[in-house]
């Protein structure tokens, strides 16, 4: 699968890339929200792994922008979060079209399981 990783932490983004590449996926990493949104709008990805908390332009902003342009329907997005998240927030994200919500730190088996689920859908 072709996977876009958007995370402001560069080393984490690289680690995710490596992790997913070990699983046999093709990855592109971006550590800037706006840049990531531009990539989404320009290219087609099988899955987008999106960090919610980023400075300046966060994961929420990207999701809002996509929703505004009615581009959520064909996007398969997994969001990552380091902060605790309430069920309410998870429900809202799922309603926006987010496929899965994973908490950091991410283990290879967890992310692979999530990707497998999305591929099966």
């Amino acid at each position: 699968m072709k996977i876009l990783i958007i995370d402001d932490n560069e080393s984490l983004a690289i680690m995710f890339s490596r992790m997913l590449e070990l699983g046999g996926h093709k990855t592109i990493a971006s550590n800037d929200g706006r840049n990531g949104l531009a990539l989404i709008q320009k290219e087609k990805f099988d899955v987008i792994v999106l960090d919610l908390s980023m400075p300046e332009f966060s994961g929420y902003d990207i999701l809002d922008a996509l929703e505004k342009d009615d581009m959520m329907k064909d996007k398969k997005i997994i969001v990552l979060t380091a902060t605790a998240i309430t069920q309410e927030q998870i429900d809202r994200l799922k309603k926006q079209g987010v496929k899965d919500v994973l908490k950091k730190p991410i283990r290879p088996d967890v992310i692979n399981e999530a990707l497998k689920n999305i591929a099966g859908q």
Binding site: L12, M15, R18, T86, E88, K104, P105, D109
Partner: protein, 616 residues
């Protein structure tokens, strides 16, 4: 504690100070006065009795002398025998002369009647009333019987029309032969009038005259307060009434307090007159005698009442003066309690009150300044605390990101696609991974503890079965068991349903099981998680066969940053937050947590969660 106001205190003090001396003085003065009045009244009464006694003696002695003289008058002495002889011309003339002479005597001395009787008491001459009118009580014969002894003053008698009389008699002796008696009849009422016995000197004052006849005692003068006729009824001797009358009639004299024939309390003096065999009593009602005393008593009571009233008024005014500034201070203090410090008291009145007001104002001012300082310090502290807390939360989040990278890579390194590792590298990677997981757990605990502290913990309550919950915990915690050789079990029943935040419960089980893993032996360890229905709760437990907890340490077990053995911190990597977090979470759900432990054998942590738990 007795509660009284200054008002009460001042008033009662003044009342006591004013009234007690008056009461004491009044009591002494009244007592003295009473004694003086008593003395004076008795003296007066005794004088009256003495004077009446004298008058009686004088009067009747004169009458005795009169009759004695009359009977010796030459004309009478020479001619009286005629009355006892047969009629003749000359005798009739003599009789008429005698009659005329006796009439003159009767008129001159106001006698009621004068009789000449023979020895058998047959009337030979009657001037005035008929001897037949004399009442048969006591019988005239017995009365006249008494007269045979010579010059004699009789008892008191009465005619049929109740006129009360005393008789004076003398035997008629001619040529040594007793022919009969000469009897003068004296109207006692006239006597009493003539001697002023009847004069009533006051409202209740009275002179009572009594005589004992046979065994009865009669009053012989009309009573002032009783309509009964004299001699009509005897004075009752069994009642304790009219004691002075009874005593005086028996020849006893005396004076003092007593009771009269009406039952009234009286002051009296009494004496006996041997000549007439009368008792004389002079008396006055004590109510009249001591009337001036009662007046004085009333005066004293009026003085006491007016003093009490003035003491009340004075006390009220004084206490007002004294307490007004206190009231002001109290009101101001109340304002200060309400944090209104701008309550300056006007420094007026006496010097002491001014001083207090000034001091109070200074205190209020100083309090205000201090309050300002305290408030700003509290605000500063709150801000600092919040900043610290936010900083700590931020740091914890920041730690998570690099930790993600570390855990990610250490997991990835196990993948053969990354290249084969030698044995030592593999061990090193495992250590990195395990340490990272510990660190992750630790950060999680710190964040949860902060949320509990700030009451910010939010729950995702959902309905789940206890069986599912324990299964999930089992799967999540199973990797921990790889550290040692541990038998890991769960025990529950079907169909227990509970409303709970599963993720938070995972944190609870994770903390408890992690502790158990730390303390079970390297081999032969056993950890069991159970969940059973108990009334409206589910009773969970985590049981291990670890080293146990010393009794004296059980009490502090659920306190933050507490570890059974401080040396464990390094060895097991715990922060000492685990149990405190569990307690915070469980109590947040309305449950309880407690521990049972036997040193060297086992530890059981119990906790309950209400099945329909809501957040407290």
């Amino acid at each position: 504690m007795v509660n009284y106001s200054t008002n009460t205190l001042v008033i009662s003090t003044l009342v006591l100070v004013a009234v007690i001396p008056i009461l004491v003085f009044g009591a002494y003065s009244l007592d003295d006065e009473k004694k003086a009045i008593e003395r004076q009244q008795l003296t007066n009464l005794r004088e009256i009795v003495d004077s009446q006694k004298d008058k009686t003696m004088i009067f009747f002695n004169e009458r005795l002398a009169d009759i004695s003289v009359t009977s010796e008058l030459p004309f009478i002495r020479d001619n009286i025998h005629v009355l006892f002889e047969n009629d003749s011309e000359k005798d009739i003339q003599t009789k008429e002369s005698l009659q005329s002479l006796f009439r003159n005597i009767l008129n001159a001395y106001n006698y009621e009647s004068i009789w000449v009787v023979d020895n058998d008491l047959n009337a030979k001459l009657i001037v005035g009333r008929d001897i037949a009118d004399l009442k048969p009580l006591p019988s005239p014969s017995s009365a006249l019987e008494q007269m045979k002894v010579g010059l004699y003053l009789s008892d008191v008698y009465t005619y049929t029309d109740d006129v009360v009389e005393v008789f004076v008699s003398v035997p008629i002796v001619v040529d040594d032969i007793q022919l009969g008696y000469l009897i003068y009849d004296i109207d006692t009422q006239l006597f009493f009038k003539a001697t002023l016995f009847e004069l009533q000197l006051s409202d209740t004052g009275e002179t009572v005259v009594v005589q004992k006849q046979n065994d009865d005692v009669f009053f012989i003068k009309q009573l002032r307060f009783d309509d009964a006729r004299p001699l009509s009824k005897p004075i009752s001797t069994d009642a304790e009434l009219a004691i002075p009358a009874l005593e005086s009639s028996s020849g006893i004299s005396g004076f003092g307090f007593s009771t009269d024939y009406r039952g009234e309390e009286i002051l009296a003096a009494w004496d006996y007159v041997p000549l007439t065999r009368w008792g004389i009593v002079a008396k006055i009602d004590t109510s009249e005698a001591f009337a001036s005393l009662e007046q004085k008593q009333r005066d004293i009571i009026i003085v006491i009442i007016s003093l009490t009233v003035s003491a009340f008024v004075a006390g009220f005014v004084l206490s007002r003066i004294a307490t007004n500034p206190l009231m002001k201070i109290r009101d101001a203090a109340t304002q200060i309690t309400k944090k209104n410090y701008d309550v300056a008291i006007n420094p007026t009145g006496p010097a002491e009150q001014k001083t207090i007001a000034i001091s109070f104002n200074e205190m209020a001012k100083s309090l205000k300044e201090n309050q300002k300082i305290i408030e700003s310090q509290i605000a500063q502290l709150k801000l600092t605390d919040k900043q610290k807390s936010e900083f700590s939360t931020m740091i914890s989040h920041e730690l998570k990101t690099p930790l993600s990278t570390i855990i990610g890579y250490s997991e990835m390194l196990k993948d053969p696609k990354m290249g084969e590792l030698n044995k030592e590298q593999e061990i090193a990677i495992d250590e990195i991974r395990q340490s990272s997981v510990s660190l992750e757990h630790l950060i999680g605990n710190i964040l949860t503890a902060q949320k509990i502290e700030q009451a910010q913990l939010s729950f995702n309550i959902e309905k789940t079965s206890v069986k599912k919950l324990l299964k999930q915990a089992y799967n999540r915690l199973l990797p921990l068991m790889s550290e040692k050789q541990i038998e890991f079990l769960t025990s529950t029943e079907e169909d227990i349903v509970i409303n709970i935040d599963k993720e938070i419960m995972m944190e609870v089980f994770s903390n408890l099981v992690q502790n158990s893993v730390d303390f079970v032996p390297a081999s032969g360890g056993r950890i069991e998680m159970t969940g059973h229905s108990k009334n409206s709760d589910v009773l969970f437990s985590v049981i291990d066969n670890g080293i146990g907890i010393p009794k004296k340490k059980l009490r502090n077990l659920f306190k933050k940053y507490y570890q059974i053995d401080t040396s464990m911190t390094r060895k097991h990597g715990g922060s000492g937050l685990g149990l405190a977090i569990c307690k915070g979470i469980i109590e947040g759900f309305g449950g309880k947590i407690w521990v049972e432990s036997e040193e060297g054998k086992r530890t059981i942590i119990y906790f309950t969660i209400p099945k329909k738990s809501g957040i407290k």
